[in-house]
């Protein structure tokens, strides 16, 4: 597996143009995960699956793609460095937590190509891949509003910040678009991993009358699904739902007599990486660009799940409008907040 020579003789190879980087002219790409790991059932996993597909589609050997697992935050920089020394042509950092590390490495290796997912690094040798989560969340909001019977829905975010705010604003807009009298209960778990927090917050939301919860909270969401399933199995009076995030989370919602996953917003990180890797392979590396993937670019998706027919129709319609540019979903940015103050 260590065919690409290791990083020991990096000095000799380093001067070469990026396109000639790999051994035997093999074009290879690699990714460095964030602490969620490559199998996080979220964007790390999506990115890795995309990379594997890319290898397959281009008839390349398995070892042309590789991931570097980060167990802690301290691993980001060394992993990026090892990936650089291992002479991969494009190296992607997955998740906004890798923004600073990518910037550091990209600065030390101006001749090499890097990518960052879910964040932006304004450097000539870095391509930034972002997703219009707000568009997707808008549809989630619509779905929630169209499904709720209690006129109360919930949103559980991981940690407050621009990324999750995008989900939150998209979602509330989507709800309001259908019916602005519907209550949106917004809570943050202050974590992306504390499942118990997810469960307890979901319990409170459901107890308080919400019947659909959209979570944008990583593994915290496991607790949300858990609570919904528990309540359904115990014979809840109302149907309870969860809207999944990043990947199709239908499997998480299964219980003895049904499924609580109403739908999922999907972020096609793999797709974005495929496109970007192909461009780089063709010599058109989009360094310095910040590319937003929305419905128009086929970078995101919304699953149908268990959404009722007429609701789905309305959602489809809105999706169409967004794709065509007829409808613009407000994107939350911190500049707005600052302006407002």
């Amino acid at each position: 597996a260590c065919g690409n020579g290791g990083g020991t003789d990096e000095g000799t190879d380093n001067g070469a143009a990026p396109e000639e980087g790999g051994d035997e002219d093999q074009f290879t790409i690699a990714m460095v995960t964030d602490t969620g790991g490559v199998d996080d059932r979220s964007f790390n996993q999506s990115a890795w699956e995309g990379m594997q597909e890319w290898a397959e589609e281009n008839d390349l050997a398995d070892d042309t793609v590789r991931y570097y697992q980060s167990d802690t935050e301290s691993d980001y920089v060394p992993n990026l460095n090892n990936a650089t020394n291992d002479d991969h042509d494009v190296i992607y950092g997955i998740g906004f937590l890798l923004e600073d590390p990518i910037a550091t490495i990209a600065e030390q290796n101006p001749d090499r190509m890097y990518g960052i997912v879910d964040s932006a690094v304004d450097m000539d040798n870095v391509v930034s891949l972002n997703f219009n989560d707000h568009e997707n969340s808008f549809l989630a909001g619509m779905a929630a509003a169209l499904t709720t019977e209690t006129n109360k829905v919930g949103f559980i975010g991981g940690i407050e910040g621009p990324i999750i705010d995008r989900f939150q604003t998209g979602f509330t807009e989507g709800v309001a678009y259908i019916d602005d009298s519907i209550d949106v209960d917004i809570q943050y778990a202050n974590s992306f991993s504390d499942t118990a927090a997810g469960q307890q917050i979901a319990a409170a939301m459901y107890s308080n009358g919400a019947d659909v919860i959209f979570h944008a909270s990583g593994a915290v969401g496991n607790g949300v699904f858990q609570e919904a399933r528990n309540r359904m199995e115990d014979g809840s009076d109302t149907d309870l739902w969860v809207i999944g995030v990043d990947l199709d989370q239908e499997a998480e919602g299964e219980w003895a007599d049904g499924n609580v996953t109403l739908a999922s917003t999907v972020k096609k990180v793999g797709q974005a990486i495929k496109l970007s890797a192909n461009a780089a392979k063709e010599g058109d590396f989009q360094g310095g660009e910040n590319i937003s993937y929305g419905f128009a670019e086929d970078g995101i998706d919304f699953t149908r799940g268990f959404i009722e027919d007429d609701a789905w129709e309305q959602i489809e319609e809105a999706r169409e409008e967004i794709t065509n540019g007829d409808r613009e979903v407000k994107e939350f940015t911190y500049t707005e907040v600052e302006d407002a103050e």
Partner: protein, 366 residues
């Protein structure tokens, strides 16, 4: 006399050395059971680290931090405390340093670096001091208090990072003037994050060794840890020594955190869990058998294994958790030192008093 000494020195060394050997053996057995090639894995894990100045630098960077938390655990341990709050003290050190450095970005480097490090050290010291104070004056278990303080600081640090001193889950980078990096060191190690902290660690080890061995205060801390009643009788203040040792312990952990903040990252971000350096520091101190040199060596070993773990997984295909299995086994065998003694006995060494034998020894009477 001299003979007895060398005999026990050999024995002392044999414990950690054999523990390391057994630890690797256990790892190898597990790998064989699951169909991996241990020789291939170990050669990537160890040799690859040394084959590359960058990874040597990274291993040393990690070792630097572990030296601090290892010493921190050790001094509390000698004074009779189980400081399980190293992670929290490490984190508050990191936090305070970053806050300070962000607050005064324009101070000249010669002032900003030491002042920021002092801020971190003080942060850690005072935080651990809470546990020391409560123990000294109220008899409150330092184990519970430090566990609680760990969780508290994790929440506070994440909150501050998110909403007060930073946005979007992290703070800004500190200014150039607060950087711990040394150009030549960075260059020699191919852009590794090895920094001035490394030299601070060396100084800390020497000072620590001298302090514990040759100062009256070090003697007091040791005596209080071994028998607080007798120490009080002998005029030592148990309260003072309890608090002092926790202050020093927290200060060392905090300094480690500060160096991590300024040297490794240059900022602070939201953490999903407490920093590993705290818990690993316990293991480092234990493997080092409470000896400063031992702590340095075991910190280095841990640094190498941690750094090498990623080579093992990416180049030999063995899950990097193998490195953890090896270190855990090493710690286990250090604990089970009697196994080593037993082996010595079998191969004909004279039995000597074990380092941990205590008054509960059956049938022994004074």
């Amino acid at each position: 006399m001299v003979e007895v000494k060398t005999d026990s020195l050999l024995k002392k060394l044999s414990v950690p050395l054999l523990a390391v050997l057994f630890g690797f053996l256990v790892g190898a057995i597990v790998m064989l059971v699951f169909g991996y090639n241990p020789i291939d894995a170990y050669s990537h894990m160890i040799i690859d680290v040394f084959a590359n100045p960058y990874s040597i630098g990274e291993a040393l960077t990690q070792a630097t931090l572990l030296v601090f938390t290892g010493l921190a655990f050790d001094i509390a341990n000698k004074a009779g405390f189980f400081n399980i709050g190293l992670s929290g003290q490490f984190l508050i050190g990191w936090l305070s340093t970053i806050i300070f450095a962000l607050q005064f970005p324009d101070l000249p480097r010669i002032a900003l670096v030491p002042l920021s490090l002092i801020a971190g050290t003080l942060g850690g010291a005072l935080y651990a001091g809470i546990a020391g104070f409560l123990r000294a004056y109220f008899g409150t278990s330092e184990v519970i208090v430090t566990i609680m303080l760990n969780h508290t600081i994790l929440q506070i640090s994440n909150y501050l990072t998110n909403f007060v001193i930073g946005t979007s889950s992290r703070t800004e980078k500190v200014s150039e003037n607060a950087s711990l990096s040394l150009e030549w060191l960075t260059e020699v190690t191919n852009y590794s994050r090895l920094n001035i902290g490394f030299f601070i660690a060396i100084v800390a080890v020497v000072v620590y060794w001298f302090f514990m061995k040759y100062t009256t205060t070090g003697f007091e801390i040791k005596a209080v840890g071994l028998n607080p009643d007798a120490s009080r009788y002998a005029g030592m203040s148990d309260k003072k020594n309890i608090i002092l040792s926790m202050l020093i312990s927290g200060g060392l952990a905090g300094l480690g955190g500060a160096i991590n903040g300024l040297g490794t990252f240059g900022n602070l971000f939201v953490l999903g869990a407490l920093p590993n350096e705290g818990f690993n520091g316990i293991a480092v101190a234990l493997l080092g058998l409470g000896n400063p040199i031992g702590i340095v060596l075991s910190a280095f070993l841990f640094g190498v294994l941690n750094t090498g773990a990623s080579f093992m997984s990416s180049r030999a295909g063995v899950p990097d958790e193998m490195a953890v299995i090896v270190t855990a086994s090493i710690v286990f065998f250090v604990g089970a030192y009697y196994l080593v003694e037993w082996i010595f006995e079998k191969i004909g060494y004279r039995r000597a008093q074990g380092p941990h034998s205590t008054e509960t020894e059956g049938g022994t009477e004074q």
